[in-house]
C-alpha cells in the first residue's frame, strides 16, 4: 500500500470554527490532491498540488484553502466551517500527474460540522 496517512480520521466541530486536515505521504510523489465524497456525488476535486508551494483550485474549492510547504505534507483548511462542508475528505497522490498513472488514496477523514 502507498504510504499515505490522513489525520485526524474523524472530527466533529461547530459551525464557524477553523479546521485543518493533514495528508502525509512517504512516497515522495510530486502530485497531491484533496477530494470530498458525498452521497449522490462522485469524488469531487477540491484543490491539488503539483509541487512544493504550487497549488491550484479544483471543482469545489470555495471555502477551502491548501498549503504545501514540504513534499510530504498537504494541508486542507476550512477557514470557517459550515454544515455544507460535512463530508468525507480523501487525499490522493500521483507520481507524475499523467493520465496513464493511477492515483493512490488515503483512508479519509470523516468531518462533521454541527
Amino acid at each position: 500500500d502507498a504510504g499515505i496517512t490522513q489525520s485526524p480520521r474523524h472530527k466533529v466541530t461547530e459551525t464557524g470554527t477553523p479546521v485543518t486536515l493533514r495528508c502525509h505521504q512517504t512516497e515522495n510523489h510530486r502530485y497531491m490532491y484533496w477530494y470530498r465524497q458525498d452521497p449522490g456525488h462522485g469524488l469531487r476535486l477540491i484543490h491539488y498540488s503539483y509541487g512544493v508551494k504550487d497549488t491550484d483550485k479544483g471543482e469545489v474549492s470555495d471555502g477551502y484553502s491548501v498549503s504545501r510547504s514540504k513534499t510530504e505534507d498537504f494541508l486542507l483548511t476550512l477557514e470557517s466551517a459550515t454544515s455544507s462542508q460535512t463530508s468525507v475528505y480523501f487525499c490522493a497522490i500521483s507520481a507524475s500527474g499523467d493520465s496513464n498513472q493511477p492515483q493512490h488514496f488515503g483512508d479519509g477523514t470523516r468531518l462533521s460540522i454541527l
Binding site: I4, Y31, G42, L43, L45, A92, S99, Q101, Q103, D107
Partner: protein, 113 residues
C-alpha cells in the same frame, strides 16, 4: 453538460456469476479511463486503467472494455466471490492537465454465497 454516470442501484449477484458494471460519459474525450474499488470506511484502490486505443484490458478475473464511440466502459468480474463485494468507481481524465480526475458516483456490488 459534462457527465460521468454509473448505475446508482446496487448490483446483486450470486457467487460464481459474472458481474458487469457500466460507466457512461458525456461531453468528454478521455484518453484514459480508470477503475477503482472502494470498501466501506476506506479510500479507493486503483484496479485497472484502459487507453482509448485499447478495446479490452484484463487482470486476473477483471476485464475492462472501452468504447469511445458509445462513450462507455464496462467492468467485468468473472467467477465473482463474496470478497468482491464493494463499491466500484470509474474515473476519467478530462485532459485539462495535472490528472484532475472526474469520478462517477460508483456502483455497489453485492455477491451472495
Amino acid at each position: 453538460s459534462q457527465k460521468i454516470e454509473q448505475n446508482s442501484e446496487a448490483l446483486n449477484i450470486q457467487e460464481g456469476k459474472t458481474a458487469t458494471l457500466t460507466c457512461n460519459y458525456t461531453n468528454y474525450s478521455p484518453a484514459y479511463l480508470q477503475w477503482y474499488r472502494q470498501d466501506p470506511g476506506r479510500g479507493p484502490v486503483f484496479l485497472l486503467l484502459i487507453r482509448e486505443n485499447e478495446k479490452e484490458k484484463r487482470k486476473e478475473r477483471l476485464k475492462v472494455t472501452f468504447d469511445t464511440t458509445l462513450k462507455q466502459s464496462l467492468f467485468h468480474i468473472t467467477a465473482s466471490q463474496p470478497a468482491d463485494s464493494a463499491t466500484y468507481l470509474c474515473a476519467l481524465d478530462p485532459n485539462t492537465g495535472f490528472q484532475k480526475l472526474v469520478f462517477g458516483t460508483g456502483t455497489r456490488l453485492l455477491v451472495s454465497p
